[in-house]
Symmetry: C2
Subunit: 374 residues, 2 copies
């Protein structure tokens, strides 16, 4: 259901330029995918996502199962029609969301928890997650996995890798392949468990592979080390997706390790709090120092916000808690990450990713200058 | 600074079609003016106001004086540049806002109160209000008046009319006429006081006249009676502005009584709570009955929201308290009122305002069918 085509490889790193054919068109990789958890990228109209150049967005099986629910989704004929978005959608399986619920019972069968909305008991299983995602009709579905929180014992992580493999088998067995299906490699921060998980997951008939369980609170160096180790265990001919990352430094690290896809709520979450991403690092627009500033958020940015509004105006909107402030910074941040990955693709197309990374280092966007040779 | 041109008069009522020349272009009257209190129409981008056909918006001298303050406004060169809106702006004088503050001391000099933002003491005077509005650089400024709350004694209302007249004189004396300046007729719900106020205010050199102190909580019949009585006391050759109204029934009543301009926070305020204006009356999109509805908010509406999103989707957004729900209904409601007044202008241009009013009655948009012959 998806086909990955490699277009160019970087000379100095694992970074790669490609295209991913989905049933709703081709997406260029590496790609940043804005997150629309509840069938909306917070504060942004769907046509604005298109105008910014978003090629694919995320939906969330867990949240959309709770609200509006499968009956509504069936009535509308899926998530695309429901939210009026015609380009590709990838849905997360709910694995990550279920595991961030405190009161739950994990068994080999699935995860039992109470709905955070109405308190009703829900048993999330690999089969139910597949059923939800098939009903949502996303273009790429994710296998239902167990995402282990940092600080869990090795014993638990080991058990969890086995469970994730068993669940992956059940996902494949239940899924009708009307949409692409990606497997997720887990294994916490243990290399041998990552190796075991990767071997088991990649042996199955998935259309792509994701690395889960990273960027869950661990230090940058740990993320990087496990990422470097795990990517080599994934096949070259299928797309690779690093879940839950979206800061410029992690994006560069992901790309130079051969990652093709990534997603994060970061642009809208920090945007609602007034923090903007710029080509010279983050700035917080709530700061009083911007009160008189006629400059745009980022002088190098060509987004609608930076072409129209000043830092001073946006500072004022936040000082009055006006909705438009959150909207403008969220918009700018999504645009920034889309352009940031577009620049990465341009660099990969022109064999200048190393130079791009050096530029990022000089601008203070990333902490490490040297590319890790592959 | 503004010039009113009468284009057509209705045969059955005082309704009139016109054009108002301002220094930033011509606006068509009767006109609905969306309210951007804090230099933003809540939840809406400025280019979206343009795309909807807004010709003039409101700013508020009181709020903008508190935040961002005159220093910032001077630095930016006025409200238009600050918020990036190039079409006309009318600023309210702060009279209405000051009088909705509980702890205040009204003297002939002005109104002493504490800033709701930082608690500092502020003395708002006619001179300060003029200074603020000249600094904002709006195209139409309003005189600083005293708006009397319903239930105040006749004695107080009488005193207040005298004060409003004295303040009007001071406004004219202080104002540099770099922008148009409108006087405001007060007099609560007493016809003789309205007569006195109208005589005094219209004897002064204002560019237009507003009726203040209506739609402050009194019954519809009272608004209507005082409006009918007061309009006749205003000159025909100047624009007439009824402050603070924006529901379809009050708009029709205003227009048939010869009002040219009106403003209201209604579309965004009710929009944030899920209530949408339609050609068949109000609906609340939070209602569970809309959960499965694929219909747009209003089938007759051609706004971007109704062309794209369903009632079911919007119901979902409100059920998850998603910002986009508030945004979409606010946008639709503003668009509705702009189109509603556009239809009124079309009816006036084609001598069919009576038929338009009958249509509104049949649709349940207004309560009274017969036009009050003038």
């Amino acid at each position: 259901m998806v086909e990955y085509k490699l277009l160019n490889k970087d000379r100095y790193s694992r970074a790669r330029l490609g295209k991913l054919q989905t049933r709703r068109g081709v997406i260029d990789t590496p790609i940043f995918m804005p997150v629309g958890t509840n069938a909306t990228v917070k504060g942004i109209w769907q046509h604005q996502l298109e105008e910014m150049g978003a090629q694919i967005i995320l939906g969330n099986a867990f949240h959309l199962y709770l609200k509006p629910g499968l009956e509504v989704m069936r009535e509308f004929g899926g998530l695309h029609a429901f939210m009026n978005w015609e380009k590709p959608i990838l849905t997360d399986s709910g694995g990550f969301q279920v595991f961030s619920i405190k009161d739950k019972k994990v068994t080999d069968e699935g995860v039992l928890f109470r709905s955070p909305i109405d308190g009703s008991k829900i048993m999330m299983t690999p089969e139910l997650s597949m059923e939800i995602q098939m009903t949502l009709g996303s273009d790429i579905a994710m296998a239902f996995d167990e995402c282990v929180a940092p600080g869990m014992s090795r014993e638990y992580a080991e058990e969890s890798v086995t469970r994730t493999t068993e669940w992956a088998k059940r996902c494949i067995s239940y899924h009708d392949r009307s949409q692409a299906l990606f497997g997720i490699v887990q294994g916490a921060f243990y290399k041998d468990l990552r190796k075991k998980s990767a071997a088991e997951i990649t042996s199955m008939d998935f259309d792509g592979f994701a690395i889960g369980g990273l960027s869950v609170g661990e230090p940058f160096q740990v993320t990087k080390e496990i990422l470097e180790y795990t990517v080599d265990l994934l096949p070259e001919d299928k797309p690779r997706y690093l879940m839950g990352i979206g800061s410029p430094d992690l994006i560069v690290t992901a790309v130079e390790n051969g990652i093709d896809m990534f997603d994060c709520v970061l642009p809208t979450r920090i945007g609602r709090h007034g923090t903007a991403l710029t080509w010279n690092g983050k700035i917080n627009l709530k700061a009083a120092k911007f009160k008189y500033s006629k400059d745009p958020i980022d002088e190098e940015c060509r987004c609608r916000v930076c072409q129209t509004y000043s830092r001073g105006y946006i500072q004022h909107l936040f000082s009055r808690d006006e909705m438009l402030g959150k909207i403008l910074v969220s918009y700018h941040n999504i645009h920034f990450l889309l352009k940031f990955t577009e620049r990465i693709r341009e660099a990969l197309a022109t064999d200048s990713f190393k130079e791009f990374k050096e530029e990022c280092y000089n601008r203070g966007l990333i902490k490490e200058a040297l590319i890790s040779e592959s």
